[in-house]
């Protein structure tokens, strides 16, 4: 044994021989210790790795799986189990969850739903930018120019998903077929007739991958915030529209929840509000048990303060102040139930009104106005002139344009404008229909239960009137334009200007009172008829002017709506500034971030990509030709 060992000049052989020697010395302890280590042959399992196609944007399913496995890994890690790869993956998940937490925190501080939503949009675009930059802006040009797919992924024998070119020192080349490699080689123009062509191509691919990875790391710090903010900016309008849809839908469900609908969402809403009311009931029960009449009064005052409608608040105030003196449990709890019912109806009603008539149509106001302007077919220079014009000149400019049109052209314009302007008016009318029905049925019922039938009818009417003002505003504004255009046919420029000028809400009271004084009700009706189509609105205005009802003066402006000239001029201003990237401030921001920041970055990136795969001192590109039979060097 010793002899055989002495022939070995390799220190490893000596190490292997240690346990054998110890065995000879009858050291059972050591032999047991080393037995498994030295004498069990490892069994080779054939590798199971395979290439997979990566995606530009992570699939939701994959993301879900990733987080599930992250949770499992974390649970195991808490027990001290895990490997480098799994634990390293935890970092990505932690960044995702942390960023979502940050977005939620920022959203909680934001005041409007839009601002809240944009915090989450920012979170999403940040991760999207991180993924899209290397895959699209670097990966695609590199693949197009060199054929190397730096985003190639593979699954290893342990089922772990990795990037193929992640570690340039450990590239699983055996997963790539000769065909795939040769395809890249041909694109890279690696000579055909060289020795070890596959290796030569692999080296070139590795060079390009290293170059791309480095470029990615050097640019990602700039690309992610720039791309992210540009994407978030572009998503503003779609997010606004989506929010409208969601809010309107939710508001509808709240209405149907009050109506007693039993669909899934409505019942969920009812369950939540029932939970809230039972908690309040409990609190009220305690106050009753204590005999705390001041507390009960305060409790009810707090509840009535949550009501949106001032009319309702005033109507029930007496009941609220009386309930403080009551000690009857049933009476107090009864009022509480009725009041929570009313509160639910009030919130659902005003929520729907806000979602549909205020925000919904308000958000699309500018777009509809712009479409009306588009239908007018005004030349660009005239639009610019209109945008810059003083208030007094606006109607002149538009009427000049209308006057220059042929009658058939004007008819076509009127047809188009009627179509465009009709949409918000119809939407508003249909929403108002739902609102009126709701007020007359569940809302009035809830009110009735507290203040009695007669009062309820009166208050419900007032609420309906006040909420109806918005519909009149919408109707007067958009129908006003159509009406003015229709009446312009065959009229003199002066008349057209007058029609387009409408009745300015700021001067309305003086102007209309003057007309009333001079020509009486008939003259006033004629004057209003020039601008307005709704008989109801005209009657209301006449009523106010006739009675000089000061409480309604403020509403006059709403009933008259926006004048046609103002509506078209606003659209012109929007169009002009939009063509200049909305506003000067926005243009400056976009120039700095998008054009200078993003442009320079993209330019440098593409330039670097163009230089990839070229020979340099690290990659000399020296190939040895293959010796072919009959082509041997002569001896």
């Amino acid at each position: 044994m010793v002899n055989s060992l002495s022939q070995n000049n390799n220190i490893n052989s000596a190490r292997y021989s240690v346990p054998t020697t110890i065995l000879n010395n009858n050291s059972q302890y050591m032999s047991d210790l080393f037995k498994n280590f030295y004498f069990v042959k490892p069994t080779a399992i054939p590798p199971k790795g395979h290439l997979i196609k990566g995606t530009m944007i992570p699939r939701p399913g994959d993301v879900f799986k990733e987080y599930c496995s992250a949770a499992k890994t974390f649970y195991k890690a808490l027990k001290g189990e895990g490997g480098d790869y799994e634990i390293g993956k935890l970092n990505d998940s932690a960044i995702g969850i942390g960023s979502l937490g940050i977005a939620s925190l920022l959203a909680s501080k934001a005041t409007t739903p839009m601002a809240k939503a944009m915090e989450f949009v920012g979170f999403g675009t940040w991760f999207l930018a991180m993924s899209v930059w290397p895959k699209f802006f670097i990966g695609k040009p590199v693949k197009m120019l060199t054929g190397v797919d730096i985003n190639q992924e593979y699954v290893d024998s342990q089922g772990r998903r990795k990037r193929f070119f992640q570690d340039p020192q450990y590239l699983p080349w055996d997963l790539m077929s000769d065909e795939q490699i040769n395809k890249v080689g041909n694109k890279l123009r690696i000579p055909e007739n060289i020795e070890n062509r596959r290796e030569a191509i692999q080296d070139k691919m590795k060079q390009i991958a290293t170059q791309s990875n480095t470029l990615w790391m050097l640019t990602a710090g700039f690309s992610t915030p720039i791309l992210s903010s540009l994407m978030a900016d572009k998503l503003r309008d779609p997010v606004k529209k989506l929010l409208n849809i969601v809010n309107t839908g939710l508001a509808k469900f709240k209405l149907s929840a009050v109506n007693g609908s039993r669909d899934l969402i409505s019942s969920l809403i009812n369950k939540v509000s029932n939970m809230k009311s039972s908690a309040g009931e409990k609190k009220l029960g305690n106050l009753l048990a204590e005999g705390n009449s001041a507390g009960i009064k305060e409790f009810f005052t707090g509840l009535s303060d949550k009501l949106t409608s001032n009319e309702v608040k005033t109507a029930i105030s007496e009941k609220i102040s009386d309930i403080g003196n009551s000690t009857k449990k049933e009476e107090v709890l009864g009022l509480y139930k009725k009041l929570t019912g009313l509160l639910k109806a009030d919130q659902a009603l005003y929520g729907y009104h806000k979602a549909t008539l205020v925000n919904g149509i308000g958000n699309s106001w500018a777009d509809v106005s712009k479409n009306i302007l588009k239908a007018l077919k005004m030349p660009k220079d005239l639009i610019k002139k209109l945008a810059d014009a003083n208030v007094d000149k606006r109607a002149d400019i538009i009427s000049q344009h209308l006057h220059s049109m042929k009658p058939e052209e004007l008819a076509e314009v009127v047809h188009k404008v009627t179509k465009v302007a009709g949409k918000p008016v119809n939407q508003a009318k249909s929403a108002q229909g739902i609102i009126s029905t709701f007020i007359q049925k569940p809302f009035k019922r809830a009110l009735e239960s507290i203040i009695g039938n007669d009062n309820a009818v009166n208050i419900a009417g007032k609420v309906e009137n006040s909420l109806g003002n918005r519909v009149l505003d919408i109707e007067s504004s958009f129908d006003g334009v159509v009406h003015a255009l229709k009446n312009s046919k065959g009229k003199s420029m002066k008349v057209v200007t007058r029609l387009l000028g409408g009745i300015k809400s700021s001067d309305a009271l003086t102007e209309l009172t003057e007309v009333m004084k001079k020509g009486g009700e008939k003259a006033l009706r004629n004057r209003l008829g020039e601008s307005l189509t709704s008989k109801k609105t005209i009657d209301k205005i006449i009523d106010v002017i006739k009675n000089q009802d000061s409480s309604q003066f403020k509403s006059l402006g709403k009933w008259l709506g926006q004048t046609p000239q103002d509506l078209i001029a606003d659209a012109a201003r929007d169009t002009v500034t939009y063509n200049n990237w909305l506003t000067l401030k926005y243009r400056s921001w976009f120039q700095k971030v998008g054009l200078i920041g993003g442009g320079v970055l993209l330019g440098l990136t593409l330039f670097t990509i163009l230089r990839m795969g070229k020979s340099n001192n690290y990659n000399p590109d020296v190939y040895k030709s293959k010796e072919v039979a009959g082509n041997e060097p002569s001896k």
């Binding site: 002495s6 050591m30 808490l78 001290g80 942390g98 909680s108 720039i226």
Partner: protein, 402 residues
């Protein structure tokens, strides 16, 4: 770590020639004639420095003093341009470590660029830019603290310094015909990997082990002691190693998890209104306190006065603003409804998570209740066995060498 053991009595310059000649011989297929190597003539064109350093270079653990840590950090930061240039050229020797080092660039550049994207909004975006910039700064601080919140207690209570760096020598592909690999230096953490933990680096005084085998496990003995074993272990390394691996896994997982509440805390603080006024008076205060000379003072006193002034200005601006933001966040100033309690929730969750993390790591890392043999109670039997083992092992090594 493993040093080349060459005892052929050559001077350093002769050793260089040994390598050079060996390379030449390899080329000429004369590797089997070592005699020829010894008799070769001196070559003046030889770059003795390179071969000398190749000869001596080995992986080594670095001291943990601040000076070394700073030097390592600076060296690593200064290597980034080199990594970038080589990477952009497609160096075949580029490795994953270099890629990970380059990944620090987007990490540290992304935040400030995000703040700049807001700053591009002009004057109207001034307040929000300031808040975002503060948020970015506090986020980096929070991420750093999340790591320290684990590393410091773990080192204190288990003796495992998760921040311990070592110098790694990376041998590159052979390019020259002499057959020697060029090399590069990298700075890694000893406990960066759980699969391949570099425990060898913790072996102590390996060259003296033949004479005093106890010395080799000195570091492991220290760790074992801190982990709660108060007696002598026969082989402290094998007792400690699995536990250290457990510590590495748990601390890494907890560090990632802690980043979540810490980052939330940082962003929550940056959202407070007190940051909106940060820097409004900075310029004026700085000019008044740090750049204006005080009359009736000597130049030295004046300099000292100005330095103090600058310090006070910065303290007034940053420290006080931070304090106010913490107060506001805790009290929920300006917040409504449930959001009023976010500050308290963020602070409490960060503290609770830190305590929970350290409790679970230290509990799992403790060896207090683990059974182990006190070697001093069985000195004869164990020492006899060890003596036999060492004797046999060294005998065989000696014989094989001979």
């Amino acid at each position: 770590m493993i040093k080349t053991d060459r005892t052929n009595n050559l001077s350093p310059s002769q050793q260089n020639i040994y390598f050079k000649k060996l390379a030449a011989d390899l080329k000429a297929n004369k590797a089997n004639q070592p005699e020829a190597v010894k008799t070769c003539e001196m070559d003046v064109s030889l770059d003795s420095k390179i071969y000398d350093s190749i000869n001596k270079a080995h992986d080594e653990i670095l001291p943990t003093d601040i000076k070394t840590k700073t030097r390592v950090n600076i060296t690593q930061a200064l290597s980034l341009p080199e990594y970038a240039v080589r990477g952009l050229k497609g160096d075949p020797d580029a490795n994953f470590f270099e890629f990970l080092q380059l990944a620090k660039i987007p990490y540290y550049v992304g935040g400030p660029i995000l703040a700049l994207c807001f700053a591009a909004g002009g004057d109207a975006a001034k307040a929000i830019t300031r808040q975002k910039a503060v948020g970015v700064g506090l986020f980096y601080l929070a991420a750093m603290l999340a790591s320290k919140a684990i590393n410091v207690p773990v080192k204190m209570f288990t003796g495992v310094d998760l921040d311990q760096s070592y110098k790694k020598i990376v041998r590159l592909r052979t390019k020259s015909p002499d057959g020697l690999s060029p090399m590069r230096k990298e700075y890694h953490k000893v406990f960066e990997s759980t699969d391949f933990t570099y425990f060898d680096l913790l072996r102590h005084g390996e060259d003296k082990a033949a004479h005093n085998h106890r010395i080799i496990n000195k570091n492991f003995n220290d760790i074992a002691k801190k982990m709660g074993i108060n007696h002598n272990l026969n082989d402290s390394d094998s007792t400690v190693k699995p536990n250290v691996k457990k510590l590495i896994i748990m601390s890494r997982a907890w560090k990632y998890a802690l980043t979540i509440p810490y980052a939330a805390l940082a962003i929550g603080l940056s959202m407070q209104d007190s940051w909106k006024n940060l820097g409004n008076q900075l310029k004026n205060d700085f000019v008044r306190n740090a750049l204006t000379s005080k009359q009736g003072m000597s130049p030295l006193e004046n300099t000292w006065f100005r330095i103090k002034g600058a310090g006070l200005t910065l303290k007034g601006q940053f420290w006080n603003t931070l304090k106010n933001s913490v107060k506001d966040f805790w009290n929920g100033t300006g917040a409504k409804g449930i959001t009023k309690y976010y500050g308290k929730a963020a602070v409490i969750s960060a503290i609770t998570a830190t305590l929970l993390a350290n409790w679970s790591i230290l509990r799992a890392g403790s060896l207090k209740d683990k059974k182990s043999v006190d070697v001093s109670k069985f000195p004869d039997a164990i020492q006899e066995k060890r003596k036999n083992l060492m004797k046999n092992a060294f005998d065989i090594v000696g014989k094989s060498r001979a």
